[in-house]
Symmetry: D2
Subunit: 400 residues, 4 copies
């Protein structure tokens, strides 16, 4: 018999705010009713702001982020096209596998799980591609498996410096809405995210930002697709309707989640993620443990993957958190299984919640055999959160 | 300012029962948590009962029914395969279009919108197919656009009588769970449905019943697919987990909806749909109007498409219902636009709700210019519902 | 196993609108938190508008309307005080009983259940009361048991014409917010209502409108009271806080319900009740049955009590509605048991819902043995609702 | 703009568990419907188990705990009756004031706010009362203002040792369901609680346990009462119905809350409260601060009142918690204002939540000027919670 709050610190699905939950708990409605169009259009308009795009087109597909990946590929590339990407975590690995399955020629650069996107290596390959055979570069903005955020602006610069015309695909599933993401500034052609991370809704909606260049590519792309056809979506959504039965419930949640983001201000949302994440990182340092991210500059503001000490099984940490303390941490995926546990710190979050995560992690680590001092991580985070107050006060006053 | 219940009589998304709504309104959870597997498996087991299959595999894909259609095709057929189907309504038309897009050779039989699946014509074509070029027959069990239910058992007999090995695809989106559907008895290989019709949940989950024969075909099928890959689903779901982030919310609703179906008894659910639908049909007859279905034997128990009198625009009927009476009817789709309005009568329904639909329809028809006598349809339905009581009492007592 | 909407046509608790339900489904909060005061004050301000008072004080007591009755009495009267009232239904009977229990000398006028407040008789008694022994006149604005609305303005005139100083107590439980109620214009001193009728919330909050005259009386009243003490409420509520733990959940619902009333406009809300009620009355007339109200001018816009034909037991009508049609009608109370069933038509309601009530009542009446023609009442109501459209269109356009 | 969980650590209303919230979010229903009686009776039966009474009668009154206090008094005592009680906190003070208002002669013993019920002093007074003038002894089981739990068994022994016949009234508002409470064993005659504490529901329902002796007293009691009349309740509730409109919503919540208590096991619920409370107390000790309770044996398992150091204003601690950390602590009431802040730790709670409370309290204390070491209290609580695991494992296994 579990009692009390189920403390959820996986890197998604994230905690859905109360008012978003309430907004979703509505009776079914006619998705062809006369008011529905304006409702949809307001969501798309606000999602554009979250992607920071004015010229791109936002698309919604019932499905998961994986489905949105597929939509991005099948609508804009052609069978056999060569794409360039790095494999440095579970999600970049799965993306490469999908690209292969869908018939692309995938030029993979394998680097350490914990490294960021290998911009120099990309640059070298792009520069060498005189014939323009590379049709797209795929970058995982935030590797959820390792807690690594890569530098998309640098990849854009690499493309530009090489005068290379490849499309830039970015997996922003665990970054959009939580980590600075600039679709237009960075020239992202296909930005992929889902409803269940920074957008604070349940899973069930794949979301795409599509540049005009990508829209153009979709007109001639010859890959087979039907459900995920951009053209169908674009045609019907002009008036706010869908080519399929939309998940109206999640759309209502999305509307409210976007209201929240607008009320807090996107910049404030990003600053909050940065501040809260730093507290978690200081706790990890106070424990004497290392994050999976190879360098502080790569550390993600949405998830921290923590290497457990030798002799400790990270699966025990997670199991103890779940069974004894009603707390869910993210597990180490694939080759990181047992070596890493992850604290998701994105979406609807505050200091108290991060301190809960840290305090419970300390207990679970100790009970799993780690030599950690109780309260040490908590104290480090508290010192940071308290310190941050003065500076933040000014910001907050301005925002409210 | 709208007041009172929003009366929803579209043929899906259907009214979600209160307890299903409540079951969905839960905080997010770790879909990799240790309890999650058993939860998923219980849903799959109960869905098999709804499909009436013991040997088939049920699969769930976040997405719409359209997505499930695509999954069925891309996993079991090969590029260029010839498939046989009829076009007799909007949904069969869209299905044929999808098949073409995905690279199949579609052998379409165009018949009247209002006709049922042309079993004799199928038979003739199958018999003529000596080389076994037809790889699949696609049948729309319940054409939601016309309110026509086709005879799947007869199609199976046609295949068997011809000793034809084609896969049998059935679109059961608006029939499974509401109209008798027998996957094993009828030898259905790919049964497609969605969460938002007879299963009384919001839209967002495509559901497939896959026969062992279809599973076998999927091992060699060479169509490109990734998100909808059967193999991925099958592997992870054996222990109750998903290859993607599942929409846990809808799964909780589905669990409760299945509890409801189990409590009422699937046979009773089907009998209730038949009884309530007959009341609506009697109302239509009392108005002197015709259903879209060409013959009473084709009349659907989940939706009735009603032809409005000459000089009346069905769009006005729908608009008046919506604007003045807070009531949503289904519109005439494509070539039926303006000629037909539809009353959806499936899912969580009772006599009072059907009488509401009929009474409001009478007002909307009259205000749109039809020469209908107030109360005439209501009286016809009441007489039927009241008459049905005695017979039903015995059934009900047995069931409770 | 019940399926579909539970059709609720009791005269309260009434159907709670979806958004009100959602507004109530919030986590607990600190009712002493800094934001709470403004929240409470906004509710009180809007309730004053519903009571149509600018000078009165609105008070809220966790409890039922019965509790609010007690609060009104014990705060303003003295032991042994003589009060004047009529007994013409179950609720006026209970009120008289309470007054006696609390130690008042109750001067009761017994009239027919179905009659309105006996203004002339009141006048006669007040005129005869030379010594001013009558300290209060109690009037039931809307007798929920009989569906009779009395003329409060006339009672006020009677008091004024006699230059009588008695306090005017009005039971507005089933009228405030649904039937025109004018606390200031009518000089009502103690107006009592509850959360669960026209205010569209669940039961649990007794609501009082207290005139300045009544506030003054409360300063010297010597009846024993503690929980319901006006002074405690008045003192703490000045800043929006409560002398007890308030039911924050219902307060959130009330806030939203008042938003709805403000959005529709109180005058429009009252007009809607009048229009919908008239449809129900026309159905009753079409059935050839009589309302309990003795004269059309007394007919309540919130509830219609219907006399069943001889030989029919109203309890059967109610039972059949409930068991067979998932529909709740109000029962005949006390001496009306078996002779009357009631259709509540107040709160969040529309035409379709009234037609449902009528259509199901027809079935239940027939199945209980009444000789009623199916559809007859429905048709009469439809004709009225349709006719009312033109006139209303102008009103509505003005309102929106 | 507040983000993340609103951390609620006031000593009530407590956090309502998710499933209880969901259970309450139901449409209105007919509280006179045929199924309603059994529903009510199941709640009363389970509440008896929580009160640990087999011979007593449980009663429910829409209202707050204050209302239930009044019901207890007015139904069983007579005007002018002498009652014995101690004043040692805000709630015992309010209770004494109510008794006076209602016309009792209150024999008050004033002791320190932080002391427990003065059993010896009670004993002395009872022994001296040769004429049996003391009609009742009032004891506050758990003084919510000071976090002090008194020894009711000892008070009962005092009464018995004196062969005194006074009724024993116990305020169990913040103890019943969270701290061991034994109505029958302790011979409690009137036990008062509310829905919003250990019973994990919103405020709105006053709950009484009434002994047979008290029931008998109510037959002859001459205090004025109406709304709170025991006889009315007893008569109608025999079949599960109410003499007033019950708050059905809270009743549904109560049903689910009782299901939770039954599933966890009342003994386990109490053990959990004891264990979690001890962690909070160890944190307070680690900070070098003192609880309000004068002696460890008096420390409440539901709330800890913490004295802040000289020079620190407890109101600042509370304000900082609320404004900066979205956390609500209880304030110091009346004479404790500014000197004390309170951490409520009752109801639906777990270790992570207590650690959150402690961690946020540390930050708020430090920011309010206290010289507290970050993490010190957290570490002390962690050490206790972790240590408790082994012993508890056996218990838990037995329970599940």
């Amino acid at each position: 018999m579990r009692t009390g709050t189920n403390h959820l610190f996986i890197p998604g699905p994230t905690n859905v705010p109360e008012d978003v939950r309430m907004a979703m708990n509505v009776p079914m409605q006619d998705q062809r009713g006369p008011d529905f169009g304006a409702f949809t259009l307001s969501i798309l308009a606000d999602l554009k702001k979250v992607f920071r795009t004015t010229t791109g087109q936002v698309m919604l597909f019932p499905g998961s982020g994986t489905g949105a990946w597929e939509a991005a590929i099948t609508n804009t590339l052609n069978p056999g096209d060569r794409v360039l990407m790095a494999r440095h975590g579970q999600f970049s690995t799965l993306w490469a596998e999908m690209a292969t399955r869908l018939g692309l020629t995938v030029d993979v650069i394998d680097i350490a799980w914990g490294a960021g996107a290998p911009v120099n290596e990309f640059m070298r390959k792009l520069a060498a591609d005189r014939k323009g055979e590379i049709k797209a570069v795929f970058v995982t903005h935030n590797e959820t498996a390792t807690g690594v955020t890569s530098d998309i602006a640098a990849v854009r610069r690499a493309l530009d410096d090489c005068f290379h015309d490849a499309l830039l695909f970015v997996d922003g599933v665990s970054s959009v809405g939580s980590i600075d993401f600039r679709m237009d500034d960075w020239g992202v052609d296909l930005a992929v995210t889902g409803s269940q991370k920074g957008l604070m809704c349940p899973a069930g909606l794949g979301i795409l930002g599509v540049s005009q260049k990508a829209m153009k590519a979709s007109e001639t792309s010859t890959m087979r697709r039907a459900y995920f056809e951009f053209r169908d979506f674009k045609q019907t959504v002009e008036t706010g309707y869908f080519p399929y039965t939309p998940p109206t419930q999640i759309l209502h949640g999305m509307r409210r989640a976007l209201d929240r983001i607008n009320a807090e201000g996107l910049d404030n949302v990003l600053a909050r993620h940065a501040r809260l994440a730093e507290g978690v990182r200081r706790a990890v340092a106070a424990w004497g443990l290392s994050p999976c991210a190879e360098h502080p500059s790569l550390a993600s503001n949405t998830v921290t993957a923590i290497r457990v000490p030798d002799g400790v099984d990270a699966r025990d940490v997670i199991r103890i958190g779940y069974e004894r303390y009603n707390t869910s941490f993210g597990s180490g995926l694939s080759r990181l299984a047992g070596k890493v546990f992850r604290i998701g710190h994105l979406g609807d979050l505050n200091e108290g919640m991060c301190l809960t995560a840290i305090a419970v992690a300390e207990m679970a680590l100790v009970e799993a055999g780690a030599d950690i001092e109780f309260g040490s991580g908590v104290a480090a985070a508290q010192a940071w959160y308290a310190q941050g107050r003065t500076a933040e006060a000014a910001l907050r006053m301005a925002a409210e």
